[in-house]
């Protein structure tokens, strides 16, 4: 049995998540990954915004920061730059990261500051009662889309790749053993790494859409997921409605803080040459 207790603030339980919610599966996978890469609790920060996913840090015995809706990445950016030795993990939801926090999300991917972002994608705003989110599939119902969503959905992983993330992977709450390995890889990757995790919300997504129980959702993930290696060989039409899982993107790009440090060293070495006087008339 994996010693989860070691990482939990046990006095904070029971948690607030609904029966059948995927959050617990993700948290456990994250803890297994953290254990494997052996980062001390004192040197790990978990930062979140608002939403069901964002209640994660409160249950975990690390440096934890629960911020505003969509803003977790901004706080994490300051924290990481001020104390670069911290391993910074951001946990977020689909609405938190790609609606209200969408601008921060794409720019963090572009900037490539070292942090790992886990997005619990349950296609809905669970905390506020099941409103339509940027990832709600076209036609699916939500409390603010009672006749079905008339908007196309975001592909979170595709968005991160396009914006410049170093490492992007997708998995689901059914693939729990794959998930911890992916998180482990993401934590070991220098730069901005993202894992999109499809997560069941039986209360607010499955119920209005008549998709069954949490178990039915997990079965759906099992039956409709295809490994990225397989997906690459398939013609487009055969991929419709399928969930591509695995490492979608893994590239080497200059990491922001390392580049900034190089800049600092250069400036400090050539301080006379590089710098205009403080009260330059052109200023």
């Amino acid at each position: 049995m994996f010693p989860y207790e070691k990482y939990l603030r046990q006095e904070k339980f029971p948690h607030i998540w609904c029966t059948g919610c995927g959050c617990g599966i993700i948290v456990k996978a994250m803890l297994r990954a953290i254990e494997r890469i052996k980062i001390p609790k004192d040197d790990t920060a978990i930062v979140s915004g608002i939403g069901c996913s964002s209640r994660t840090p409160g249950y975990l015995d690390f440096n934890t920061l629960h911020t505003h809706h969509g803003r977790a990445i901004t706080f994490a950016t300051g924290l990481k730059l001020a104390k670069p030795r911290l391993k910074v993990i951001v946990v977020s939801g689909d609405g938190d990261a790609t609606a209200i926090g969408g601008n921060h999300f794409i720019h963090a991917a572009r900037r490539n500051l070292d942090m790992t972002v886990l997005i619990y994608n349950n296609y809905t705003y669970g905390m506020t009662g099941g409103q339509v989110s940027p990832t709600t599939p076209f036609g699916k119902r939500a409390s603010t889309a009672p006749y079905g969503s008339a908007e196309p959905a975001f592909d979170i992983s595709g968005l991160a790749i396009a914006a410049g993330a170093s490492f992007v992977a997708r998995s689901t709450c059914y693939h729990a053993t794959q998930l911890d390995k992916l998180i482990e890889r993401a934590l070991g990757k220098k730069g901005f790494s993202l894992i999109e995790i499809l997560s069941p919300c039986p209360t607010y997504y499955s119920r209005p859409n008549r998709l069954g129980t949490a178990v039915d959702m997990l079965k759906f993930y099992k039956e409709n997921s295809i490994p990225v290696e397989t997906a690459r060989k398939l013609p487009e039409p055969e991929k419709t409605g399928k969930i591509t899982i695995g490492v979608l993107h893994d590239v080497e790009r200059p990491e922001f803080y390392e580049e900034y440090q190089k800049l600092v060293e250069r400036v400090r070495k050539n301080i006379e040459k590089e710098v205009r006087p403080a009260s330059s008339p052109n200023y």
Partner: protein, 377 residues
């Protein structure tokens, strides 16, 4: 005075230089006129001393980042103007609620909306107090010269560290861009205040413990103290609570911090008020015109004095109320439509004479003098 301590610089440059002296090692910002030179000088200066400058995607992110950096123990600042200040309000509330020291510079321009990007105003003073939602503690300071900008930037950091509260430094376009002679004070003569850090061992540390001072000692993230910070109503341990007793205690304590120390925070200068029958109340660059107007009025034999605020919030209501016991005429020049006059009216229970300008031009001594003359008749 050492000759190399005499410089000519703008208010914006003085702000950055002073922030560095105060210990700022992290700056996050977004370009906006007329504050951009603060970001530009921080971008130039911070790498020289091993600090971090980062330009982020907007003012929301900038404000979030300085909170994150401050929680890691690094003194942090951002700078902006009207529209950006509006965007920062959300996270300013977080800094008030979670008691995170940080400094926000607002080089005021005309508003609302995009308003007058390149022209001055003093119309954000009520926003500085009440811009974010909910009852919250805040301090706002308002220098009027380049040298005062230098001094008050340092004091802004000191107040922020001492009281664990966000501090707004209110400049305006005139002051931000004004090139003025400044004698840089000797660093040995400058008081620098650092936040009180806990001396308890990590397993005994309670991040929001009720202490005699009402200001809980801090610990830095990543220093062996593992704790939780949230913008939700929280108890002493820093975890969310719905317990009415604990919620009430938290809100009262964070606001009481300012109330009980207001005498240490409030700062103003009285000029020629001893025998005055008229009191001009002003702040920032308007106070410079007001001082000139006062002198000219004195030359005409009018008994007028000046009450200049250096701290806008908490407001010097007690002191103005006391003055109102013997002075019945208050004149309030400001580059807005009466935001401070409203406070003066509340404090003095009199109707002050307003001198307002909202056309993007600074108030002139002449127009203030005219009002003083009218009142003295």
């Amino acid at each position: 005075m050492k000759p190399n301590n005499v410089k000519v610089m703008t208010g914006n440059e003085a702000c950055t230089e002073a922030a560095i002296v105060a210990g700022m090692r992290f700056f996050a910002g977004y370009p906006i006129t007329p504050s951009s030179e603060i970001a530009e000088s921080a971008a130039r200066r911070l790498p020289q001393i091993g600090g971090v400058f980062v330009q982020l995607e907007d003012e929301i992110a900038s404000m979030g980042a300085i909170i994150g950096a401050s929680l890691a123990g690094v003194k942090s600042m951002t700078a902006t103007s009207g529209p950006g200040f509006s965007l920062m309000q959300e996270n300013i509330g977080y800094a008030s609620m979670a008691e995170v020291p940080c400094v926000i510079v607002n080089v005021q321009r005309g508003g609302p909306s995009t308003g007058l990007p390149t022209l001055p105003a003093q119309a954000d003073i009520q926003q500085a107090r009440w811009g974010t939602h909910g009852d919250h503690p805040i301090i706002a300071v308002c220098p009027s010269t380049v040298r005062e900008t230098y001094d008050w930037t340092i004091k802004a950091f000191n107040l922020s560290e001492k009281y664990r509260v966000p501090v707004i430094l209110l400049l305006d376009e005139v002051l931000g861009h004004l090139n003025e002679k400044i004698v840089i004070p000797d660093q040995a003569d400058i008081d620098i205040v650092d936040r009180v850090r806990t001396t308890e061992p990590p397993d005994e540390y309670i991040p929001y413990r009720f202490t005699e001072s009402d200001i809980p000692p801090m610990a830095d993230y990543g220093s062996g103290y593992r704790f939780n910070v949230t913008g939700l109503s929280h108890d002493e341990t820093g975890f969310p609570t719905n317990d009415p007793v604990k919620i009430d205690a938290l809100y009262r304590r964070i606001n009481r911090k300012i109330d009980r120390y207001r005498n240490d925070i409030v700062c103003f200068k009285e000029d020629l008020l001893g025998d005055a029958e008229i009191c001009v109340v002003s702040f920032g660059t308007s106070a410079r015109s007001a001082r000139r107007a006062m002198r000219e009025a004195r030359a005409l034999g009018i008994k007028v004095g000046l009450f200049q605020l250096y701290v806008m919030w908490p407001f010097p209501d007690v002191e103005l109320g006391r003055l109102a016991q013997r002075i019945k005429h208050f004149v309030v020049p400001e580059m807005n439509l009466g935001q401070m006059a409203h406070e003066v009216a509340c404090a003095t229970r009199l109707t002050p004479t307003k001198v307002n300008r909202v056309d993007g031009s600074p108030l002139t001594p002449g127009e203030i003098l005219e009002k003083i003359k009218n009142v003295s008749v």
